[in-house]
Symmetry: C2
Subunit: 327 residues, 2 copies
Amino acid sequence: MADNDKITELANRIYALDEKVYKATGSNLGRVYQGNKEKCINDLRDLLKSSADSSVLRSELALISNMARTTKKNPQLHKEIMHEYGEIFDEAMAMQEAREGNDIIDPEHAELNMSNLANRFGKDDNLIICIGRSYGCAGTDIGFKLADKLRISYYDVSIMNEILQRNEEHEETDRALFQNKTARTPAQWWRDFRKYHGLSRSDVQFFNTSKKLVDLAKQEPYVIMGRYADNILTKNHIPHISIFITAPKKLRIQRTYHTSKEKLTYKQAAKYVSKEDKAHLKRYAFYTGKKWGEADNYDLTINSSTYGIDGSVDLIMRIVAKNQLDN
Amino acid sequence: MADNDKITELANRIYALDEKVYKATGSNLGRVYQGNKEKCINDLRDLLKSSADSSVLRSELALISNMARTTKKNPQLHKEIMHEYGEIFDEAMAMQEAREGNDIIDPEHAELNMSNLANRFGKDDNLIICIGRSYGCAGTDIGFKLADKLRISYYDVSIMNEILQRNEEHEETDRALFQNKTARTPAQWWRDFRKYHGLSRSDVQFFNTSKKLVDLAKQEPYVIMGRYADNILTKNHIPHISIFITAPKKLRIQRTYHTSKEKLTYKQAAKYVSKEDKAHLKRYAFYTGKKWGEADNYDLTINSSTYGIDGSVDLIMRIVAKNQLDN
């Protein structure tokens, strides 16, 4: 069987490389494969055949290559060894990948988005970037600057509500409706009830926003802050990139303390950030059934305190730029 | 006061731009600034002066620019409008940034790492990448391939233990010690107790690994999987990039089911992944005092199901490449 021959050959090459590296380095760590040669090669053959033992094989290859890299003082030998290692590595990886079930790509994403961020957007798709963020992490600043740098539209809660209000030409009702600020009289309540089929005001807001986001996605590229946009677009099979931005709570409190309009005390700022976190969690779970801020709901999660506002914009730009280049 | 003049001028420019955009588009959304001109400009001046109202100003600018982008059909006018918008945007942002407390950079990071990932590594620092991952997300495959692509060393728990064992030349004791597999006799227990000053075996492992990681960082660039390396290196003031990799639990269970050595049933795989998640959380909290997998502990959190193994490697490479380029 040809496949079996290939495995035997590769096992022999790995053994020989280990031997060569050991002789070249005289390392105090010794060789990876010690004792009876035939037995070593048999073990290696078993490793190469099994898809389950891939972590052992990986560790052994890594030990050899970590050692191999220390042969730099002899450039000719180093080049030779690294070349041989490169070939062995590629062949061993190819053998493993030929077995199914190894990768981690989400089949649902795959169906929707051709599975890979770089291939997600088709020629006719607009670039849509959904940004979720925790309170005080400067996520809004990042999203706003990002939209400007990409020269695409920017939407957040206040802009979205402004647009919905103007579109509907029911300024009074809708201002109350979307800003959730005005107490309603029983008559107003009844009018709203009939108009919105008995839905709560925040539900109406949710549905109107959903419709608007889907319509907009067909017209133009945009950055959208929050609004459960990631979930809405996924359900409508509209390709998008989903990013969550956060930062350590201590820093978010500090930033809130420094920038709050209401001149909060530090303690009040801390309380406010905690309250916002809890409210976000609750609302997001209600409208999406998912856990807000949990990394596996997003394509990427950024700690803005690492990069700062401009650094975060730059990081996202690099991901997006790749996308744009590929299309 | 010159500053006041500047604010008045900018307020006038914003008002004029809004008017120009409105006339160019004849938009059904109408103008951002309506009614009495003097009052509008006074409101704008207030917005520009206040650091707390930055979100309102931002929304208004975004509304104008979203609208301005729709003037593309008239290229000359579009160019003119976007140029004016660009200047206004930069000036408004500069005014905001001149006020303190606006950015979100972590001062501790700043001290340790010159605050920005792109500037984190000095000329004499080795590139160290710490990767944490949840069970079944292919994080180990990603780390291994990343190290190979960067041509730097790769360390994980088994390699680390192998090295520690060999270094100490106490094969028997240490194999028991680091693999936590062999039950010890009372005599062995007593010997270990004296040797390791009464520390638990996992504590000894932790301290030895810490020391080794710090030593290695001075010698060579590397990728390290888990081992609380992010926390250890931070405490030792050694620059590094910290990445967490995860994927939706459903997919991690599927992958475990497909690749498990022990031919687990789906139910067993699900139980195993949950158990691993819990154990990780507990161990990480014990050794670092932090919550494992929480995005604000890392520079970046990647959902591997979005990118797949090679796509995730590619994503990290792009971040690292920027780093390398900047130095």
